[in-house]
């Protein structure tokens, strides 16, 4: 459901950038998405295809670059890998974790003409 809003947001960014960067068609979009970004990539792919119809990005390929999740453990005083919000520290088992990376969701690069 909210993947649809996200896909619409992507098209909006593409249209805004088209004016700024002088292009008329988008062929490929590279998206960076972390495991904590609340995005189901399959759903996003599906929605992207639907919302790009009759836009400058019709038929564009969506490439998703997956970023790793990372949190700072207050007990170990170092960064540890995580894949979910409720994960514990892989070393000490503590839940006192501060997410430092993995909730990103951004457009990294475009192939345009």
């Amino acid at each position: 459901m909210h993947e649809m809003s996200i896909a619409e947001g992507i098209v909006q960014v593409l249209e805004d950038q088209a004016k700024a960067q002088c292009y008329t068609r988008v062929k490929t979009v590279w998206l960076e998405i972390g495991p904590l970004a609340m995005i189901e990539t399959e759903a996003l792919n599906f929605c992207f295809e639907a919302v790009t119809r009759d836009t400058l990005a019709e038929g564009a390929v969506l490439n998703i670059i997956k970023i790793k999740g990372e949190a700072f453990c207050m007990q170990c005083l170092k960064n540890v890998p995580i894949t979910e919000r409720y994960d514990s520290c892989v070393d000490c088992g503590s839940y006192q974790l501060q997410v430092v990376q993995g909730d990103e969701m951004r457009i990294k690069e475009l192939e345009v003409e």
């Binding site: 459901m1 809003s5 979910e84 409720y86 997410v99 475009l110």
Partner: protein, 292 residues
């Protein structure tokens, strides 16, 4: 779609008179001028790169957050809250957790002391706004149409109908949904997640994003605990597992048990916000005084 600015928001409907377009569009001034001579130079594009085999294509690096637009609108809302000294809360929960009853009961208790206004988000109907208006406070209903959450742009338009509202508490009751509203900042001071004890105690683990985004979890309908197997301690432990700093208040909007703690929390946080604003202004005044 918004009939004034044409932003694609689907079938969003906001109650109230047709609005003036008070907020600027963040992107309008960001257009870049690209010079074009008679020659075709593929290296002159913003990416400054030519990729072999892509004679007409070019690569553009933009590194733009997809939620950036929502976040910009949220920033504008936050500035308006600050200018009007409004303490805004974003109430999120699954459908049926008792958000509207909690609100009507809260309003009955505080409306004598504080200005209160409500923005109601639902997919359809103005039923909830009508329930709020019966308590005597202004309420704006936002129907999200096909949308599953309120976004900052919708809230901005709703605020256009609350321009006279000053120095009070604004409750934004989000669409009943424990998933999507977590991602959309509305400019609020705090997200408050409401969980009723008739739901599963493991909801914080099932919907971790929401409990991670919330600063307070309200456990509602505690008057029903004797009839249920709901393990309160386990539920709180799960919430803290997802968000170690989350605060918890247990109450029953129906019996009134725990309501005083909630009302105190509201006043405490509202005053904290005002004090923070005073501190910032005093710092600014001192900076000016130093220039004399």
């Amino acid at each position: 779609m918004c009939t004034v600015c044409g932003c694609s928001e689907g079938d969003v409907k906001i109650e109230g008179p047709a609005h003036e377009h008070a907020h600027p569009h963040a992107d309008e001034s960001e257009q870049m001028i690209v010079q074009q001579g008679d020659d075709l130079d593929f290296g002159q594009g913003p990416a400054h790169a030519h990729v072999a085999g892509m004679s007409q294509s070019r690569m553009v690096q933009i590194e733009q957050d997809i939620l950036g637009k929502n976040d910009r609108y949220a920033g504008l809302n936050r500035a308006r809250f600050e200018a009007q000294s409004i303490f805004a809360l974003n109430l999120v929960s699954s459908p049926g957790s008792g958000k509207t009853t909690l609100l009507t009961e809260t309003i009955q208790q505080i409306k004598g002391d504080r200005h209160v206004a409500v923005i109601e988000g639902d997919q359809q109907t103005a039923n909830d706004a009508e329930r709020i208006r019966e308590t005597g406070v202004p309420a704006i209903q936002v129907n999200t149409g096909k949308g599953c959450h309120l976004d900052a742009h919708m809230v901005g338009h709703a605020l256009d109908n609350l321009t006279a509202f000053q120095g009070g508490i604004l409750f934004i009751e989000n669409v009943g949904n424990l998933v999507c509203p977590a991602a959309f900042d509305l400019g609020e001071a705090h997200k408050v997640a409401i969980l009723s004890v008739t739901e599963g105690e493991d909801k914080p683990l099932k919907y971790p994003d929401m409990f991670y985004a919330a600063d307070l979890m309200v456990l509602n309908k505690t008057d029903l605990l004797p009839y249920l197997d709901f393990d309160v301690d386990k539920c709180i432990a799960y919430a803290k597992q997802v968000n170690p700093s989350i605060e918890v208040i247990q109450l029953s909007a129906k019996s009134g048990e725990g309501m005083a703690v909630w009302v105190e929390w509201l006043e405490h946080k509202r005053q904290a916000m005002i004090k923070q604003r005073i501190d910032a202004l005093e710092t600014e005044i001192n900076q000016f005084k130093a220039l004399l």
